[in-house]
Subunit: 215 residues, 2 copies
DNA sequence: CCTGTATTCACCCATTGGGGTGATAAAAAC
DNA sequence: GTTTTTATCACCCCAATGGGTGAATACAGG
């Protein structure tokens, strides 16, 4: 027999909190071990109550759910944090995710789905409202169009080495020392690099190297 | 009255294709307008059949679902592509998403969920199996630890402008012209920038600006 | 064997960049 | 209303950088 999934709820709205409390207590397999209006005592509550899943509102007086999430993950990494909010703002979504949230539901979803989502995060899934998921996918699609094709400027081995040093911000003299060659040789290589990259200054070369190449 | 959602299915497994066909035809509100075992004639089919939603298997003989997805989006950007597959490999998931897929379901989910997901993508959502969502969130959490806090170096407005020009790779003379000031003034600003950023060369400043600042 | 590229080095020269020092006037802060 | 920051400009000095030109060695491919 599986032990109940231990839940802690942070929700400042009294009606919602009481409604959720009722719902969670009425569900077999779930054990609501705490329900609080703010995250002020989170440092005590999490280690003491040892929740498997934390239901976290975002907008709360004092420390917001976004700020509280990384604390939960630090205090008890195995606890899954499920954001439960009315807001659908890009910023908050991404902040919550970066801070370690494992799911993100809008409050308007039916109770049955909230319950399902709780079991879901506890099993290792990440329930996302599909409109939230869409935003995340969009973000991915926007991010990744560039880094696909590292254009071939056919730099020689040596030239690549020198370019890497340039990107590190080294001056010619240092580069020369680093590779045990004369500074004029470095300059020679760099001229060739500039030709191949079609640039005419260190800064441009570094920028180009960073933007479209594997440096 | 809403018109039916037009569906095209690509699935090489005959049993699955026929099963899906049956399911889709039996569902009110959906109109299956094509079901194919491969994507060979996709260039004809998509413009001709004008689907609202394409259900796309990943592993198919010839052109895979991953390769076919960007074609669909090119031929008909308003068509939503829903990946439907047994595979849960990172690479394929991310490739499919980057290629424009709007949802990603594992085939083992119950038929009712597949139907729900079709309506969902058509409404603009992105249904994701929660285990897939978890992988995507993990990716986010790993990627983005740094860019959260743009440290405040309290650069003045002018200094920010100059810094932006530096990042563009402009030499001092050009920057001076660009802002209608003497080159010595540019140099003066740049010295202040170096102090504030704790660097001592153009390249370092540009690198620092790119790495941790909003330039 | 000849040719092209890679790698190395050298010298000249002009421009650019970076440090020091300081000054002035306007704007913002206290 | 005095002080501090911001923005502006100036001059000196020297190191760093970029372009031109040339050249030797070595190695790979025809």
């Amino acid at each position: 027999m599986e032990p109940d999934v231990r839940i802690v709820l942070y929700e400042d709205n009294r009606d919602l909190r009481e409604g959720m409390t009722f719902l969670l207590q009425a569900t077999p397999g779930l054990a609501l071990v705490g329900a609080f209006a703010d995250t002020g005592n989170l440092e005590m509550q999490i280690p003491g109550l040892k929740p498997d899943v934390v239901l976290m509102d975002i907008d709360m007086p004092g420390r917001s759910g976004i700020e509280a999430t990384p604390l939960v993950k630090t205090l008890r990494p195995e606890t899954q944090v499920l954001m439960l909010t009315v807001f659908e703002e890009e910023d908050k979504i991404f902040q919550a995710i970066r801070n370690g949230a494992s799911g993100y539901l809008l409050k308007r979803v039916p109770p049955s789905e909230i319950i399902a989502a709780i079991f879901d995060v506890h099993r290792g899934g990440s329930p996302l409202t599909s409109s939230i998921a869409r935003r995340i996918l969009h973000f991915f699609q926007q991010q990744a169009p560039v880094p696909s094709k590292p254009v071939d400027y056919s730099l020689s081995v040596r030239e690549m080495e020198i370019l890497k040093s340039l990107v590190k911000g080294y001056p010619y003299k240092l580069i020369a020392g680093e590779h045990g060659i004369r500074i004029d040789t470095v300059r020679s290589h760099i001229r060739h690099i500039y030709e191949k990259l079609q640039v005419n200054s260190k800064t441009e070369a570094v920028l180009k190297a960073l933007n479209e190449k594997i440096v």
